[in-house]
Symmetry: D2
Subunit: 340 residues, 4 copies
């Protein structure tokens, strides 16, 4: 590069003069420095590009306290508006959703509290959010029945994790539920670590019931070809990661195993790369594996996903406008399949 190539874009300073919409501010971030605000603006651009691509399947990785943090409806709306196509999540995220779906709640609290007192009161803490134990117990019993019902219907045939969430979603009635919305909109939710959550303990409860003829069987590996197949068939693939862990890894590995490599990637995390763990690994690193294409639009936003993600969604919503309709590759494929 020549010297002058490094000096093409002077930083324009952000101007806040009166009321701004989220995207008006984001547009300024874009022209400003490329530090934090610039990276967030880049994430918005990349998400917009994914959405406007004719044939890009959008994977959303959900981990951490998405629901306790108040982002349940954001995710539900993204599903209903077809602004995400596939969800890969932790068991816990869907448990949090399920708790609210069967009438439970998360409560605003604080972190400088007496945990021994919370224990005495049967209140569970998630940083500064509280959940009463009875909400978990209600979930346990309602879901144990659902497991029995699903198992009966399956009659010995195993389920993949996405079939499991589909069957659960089918049996929920809460319109605000992520699981329900995904069921209604044919958006698959994969839970590669479904066992590592209350869903695992509910299974124990369900399996231990007397006169249980059919026990729900989730085949740990059964969803592998399904996720990889989506990557393989989709002309393009993009991911948005909230947090890290298993959901991020599963999407990236599927992009590799399907020999496609991601075309777009946005990761929002506070994890850092130096430990060698997957959650904080740079997107550059994924290029060496073929998980992401070298030419992919990508950015890593260093921040709490639960603060950053709503800005991303609000900005995209504003850019697309009220009349935007997305007919994704997967939805078209599904309709074509039904037509046949």
């Amino acid at each position: 590069m020549d010297r002058k190539d490094y000096l093409k874009e002077p930083v324009n300073h952000i101007k806040i003069n009166g009321t701004l919409t989220v995207d008006q501010l984001m547009q300024q971030f874009k022209n400003s420095g490329s530090l934090g605000a610039g990276r967030l603006a880049a994430a918005c651009d990349i998400y917009e590009k994914m959405l406007r691509e004719k044939d890009c399947t959008i994977f959303l990785a959900l981990s951490g306290a998405v629901v306790p943090a108040g982002m349940r409806t954001i995710v539900t709306d993204l599903i209903r508006k077809h602004l995400v196509d596939v969800i890969v999540s932790t068991g816990a995220c869907m448990v949090h959703d399920a708790i609210e779906a069967v009438g439970g709640h998360h409560y605003k609290g604080g972190w400088a509290v007496n945990d021994a007192e919370l224990y005495k009161y049967h209140l569970f803490r998630i940083y500064d959010i509280f959940v009463p134990e009875e909400d978990y117990i209600r979930l346990d019993f309602k879901f144990s029945e659902m497991y029995a019902d699903i198992a009966k219907q399956r009659n010995g045939e195993s389920l993949a994790s996405d079939e499991f969430t589909h069957e659960i979603g089918k049996r929920l009635t809460d319109k605000n539920s992520i699981l329900r919305a995904a069921y209604e909109e044919n958006v698959p939710i994969f839970l590669p670590a479904v066992r590592d959550s209350e869903f695992g303990f509910i299974h124990w409860l369900h399996a231990s019931q007397k006169d249980q003829k059919n026990v729900l069987l989730v085949d740990a590996f059964k969803d592998v070809p399904t996720v990889c197949g989506i990557c393989a068939r989709s002309p393009k693939n993009g991911m948005i990661v909230i947090g890290g862990g298993v959901p991020r890894n599963t999407i990236q590995s599927s992009a590799l195993a399907s020999k496609k490599g991601l075309d777009y990637a946005v990761v929002i995390t506070l994890d850092r790369p130096e430990t060698g763990g997957l959650s904080g690994s740079t997107l550059e690193e994924t290029v060496s594996w073929g998980k992401m294409k070298g030419s992919a639009d990508h950015v890593m936003v260093i921040g709490e996903a639960l603060m950053v993600f709503p800005f991303l969604v609000a900005s995209a919503t504003e850019r697309l406008g009220p009349d935007f309709k997305r007919n994704s590759f997967l939805q078209r494929e599904k309709h074509a399949g039904k037509a046949n």
Copy 2:
């Protein structure tokens, strides 16, 4: 506390339905979970409270890449609109401002670059921002002359760091400059570590010039009673911290030394408390010292200040509306002083 006291406020989920202004989204953050988004919303509430208080002096601590990140105009506007009263900063922040004030620029770049090539090209890197060396050299020579001029005028009398920034601001013409705006609006800028920046090396250049009769003398300790005096006289004191380091410490220590203790505190940082360093220390810890009152409204937002701060300012700007005029305690005091 009774059990029910822990379960008063269920988390309301954020709804993004069409275009939202920054504060409309922020209001939703407020009703949502108290994790990241909730803490940012709390920060906005606290800043609004400070601004609406009749008699609260607002200290802004600036550290890090505020200007390279494109936030120069935000700070300048806050000064001109009297939405901050006192600035405590690093030398580097004001050097970045000065570079642009004398015609230099910061340029958007990248971090995955060849630093040896940048060195060869005399381009300095600040994470993913570049500054050409000639902009520093221009600063060196212009400011060296300014130093000589100030020294001549002072004729041996020492300056405090806020007098230094005042004299510099007086000699700048760029309306967008933080230093200039502060000079015009009588907002003091304290630089407790002024020496640890290009200002220190400019001094060396200035002092080494032949025929130099008067050398600029900044008395390291001279601003101590001034900052403390502001805390002491102000009926209430609040701080907003971008980053950490010396600026945060100076404000907190002044609140302690003046025996007032802060009434409001917002800290935006990625630093963490476990090292025992000041920058990441919790605001609770400051209560033990008397740096902050036990009853103070306070919040620590974990995030990159250079992404988070514009949202805070945009939200406050929107809440206050176009007709909001703030006549701060310090400004009133100044006018009263002049009237006498």
Copy 3:
């Protein structure tokens, strides 16, 4: 508390005068301040206590780049010396072990590299470690055969994740392998997210082979009662966590589901609590759930596990001396079972 209760233990300053053994330094950490070094010393004390308890089952959670970082033999030795009783890990950790077990290697590299070139060369990067693709391919084929063999033997019966690792370990010959050592020493390795790793893609390869009559079936939920049963039967339970994610969560949840609550806990992580995610959550928070007892000895060490863990192990090894023999509750139980 009275004032004097806060002032009981003055900080003793560490003295490094000549050669020190790891534990000699650690003993000084103990008497020094309670910041970083103090927390590491506390971790050593807690691990020693767990080991000297007659009846404490020790769970080791492994996540991240344990093997690429060179800690494979440390883990293998802990298993062989019975200094850990149960391992809960990610699929990736055991894949890394398996790669070396079938003749592959991890190579020291750097992070400031050209990932596009690595991709071209079929070299995978884990931060600053490289693995050649052929080592993965070798694993794929060897393990695909193993899967077929295991499936044939099982003849339709499903496996739990710990049975899966046991069967794999049985078929490996490398004495340095974690999987092999665990097999030989009857230390169960649970992989609650076994699917999220190369093991999942090997399954795909295996299942897609022609003439495949039996396909390996891992029941996602089958290990739940096994882990919980260990917690329930063990008079005491302790955990040491390297990293976070699924392994930490599984151990904690099992301690909850078994209504025991952990008696000891050491977590080594760089994650932080504010996101609400499990990996960075404080140990105090786990008390509210009943995952850990309020009275438990516990400490969270903020650091890269891959730097901190060897110090912990070296210190414990030194304290116990060469003659220490641990006959753990689980081993005694196993022998009693065989005797019957």
Copy 4:
């Protein structure tokens, strides 16, 4: 690079078999993976190289809770053994040293405490360390007298920050004091932000005393040519940074201003680069400025300095052995100066 160049050094796994000295473990870290443990081992190698270089001046940057964490004697011993040549620190670090030098103490405590109660008891908290207010008050009065004495002696002439610490050290008697040891051993301690600490408030107390004829005058800029001169004259320069902030910046800037560029650099920090702040900036970035040579041996260790630094010192101490004598460039220069 050819493919085989990436695959030269397979990771050797660490073996902990019986008691190990700190350096025996460190030597294993060296041969292991290049993640955390590998970076720490590299730091030890670099420090050893600096020490064995005939003509390398070693700058130690101290920030954060070095003394409260129990590392005071480590620093004092490094000074007395001539294993560091120049110290650049924060005011706070030297205040902590001074508190103990005049009979005060830091006390081990906890972080989950009632800060309002601590305030009531006049106990100051530094994360999990307590300091009683009376220890600060004692310091205030003793040092205020010292200031008066120094000022009297100076008779109007200003001091540079290193002269200030020299004069203070001269007046202390505690052999374990960093300030005293540095005075005795002719190791300069620079405090570029001396004002941002109790030293600033002591100055206020001192200056406000009646009948005060001479007030201590510290010229903020006076130490600039001194630090730069050391860099310029030293054939080679290396730095070890504990934490970040002003001390790191001052050393790096001096290496730049003196047109030398550092030859060696070790930084131990938990800060991260993405904010654009100096403390977390990569060492690669410093190359673009000329603060460090492109060819310099350097490493950044991600960790709590207060846990990592003792391992570094213990390892170096062991490697050098009891008979190692270092006659540094600066010491030789000083003796030559006296001889003339």
